[in-house]
Amino acid sequence: MKNKQELILHLKEQIIKQLKLEDKKPEDIGDHDPLFVEGLGLDSIDALELIVLLQQEYHIKLKNAEEGQDVFRSIDTMADYILEHSV
């Protein structure tokens, strides 16, 4: 498993690719920037894609939708969740 900083960079690259944020570069995304509405401006379909990303790439299944609100707050919170739940 990568260390947290490596994971954060990798997550930014994955999110840009998976969510087709072709006008963004990893350095445009702050580790603590909100992913939804303000910040990166993701929408509900993007949220579903992030859930798929967690399952597909990290084999992590969210327990419930409410949990997603905390997990997907920022790249930093996503990285923490992955590190905590990866097997």
Partner: protein, 209 residues
Amino acid sequence: MEQGRIYITSAVVLRNGVMVKDGSVIFRAPEKGAAFLQAAYEHLGIDYPRFYKMDLLSKAGTVAVDMLLRVHLGAWAYRPEETGMVLSNRNASIDADVQYLEASKAYPSPALFVYTLPNIVIGEISIRYKFKGENAFFISETFDADWIHWYVTDLVQRGLLKACICGWIDVMNEQPDGCLFLVEQAPAATGQLFTAENLWDIYNKDYEM
């Protein structure tokens, strides 16, 4: 100009690597399909990051409508509810359907799934311009100018719309094929009369010279 008449105030054709507005070629590129739409997006200087998320049908519609509404938007005189869209094509959302099917062999993608209906292109255009008027998407073997003319005329004459984006927008084998018209009922409108014959003439003209 007579009050109450409906006019074709602009027309955009997107076909075989050429984009035509009101009879003049405004963009030509050697690329085909997705690459052509990307080149057109860049050539037109469109800044709309949502474009990158769209399927090809919505990208084709977005590029064509951006060109169609240029000049007009500055003096847009209609309320959101007065502008509608009536589009048609032959292949529905087959390009997005195939993309989704292929992707689903690994994991189903919600972002691809949302484009597996042809009328999503209307939704995308409505989101961008905040149009809220009547809309419909029809499937037909070929462009049916008579039907489009009848349907749009009915919406306008019943007072439901004052402006309408209508016509043909299709993608097959990743190749976009579009012919969109802006029609308006307004004292200031100028252009050809909105008739089925004029729609046919614009659609059928050979622009690949």
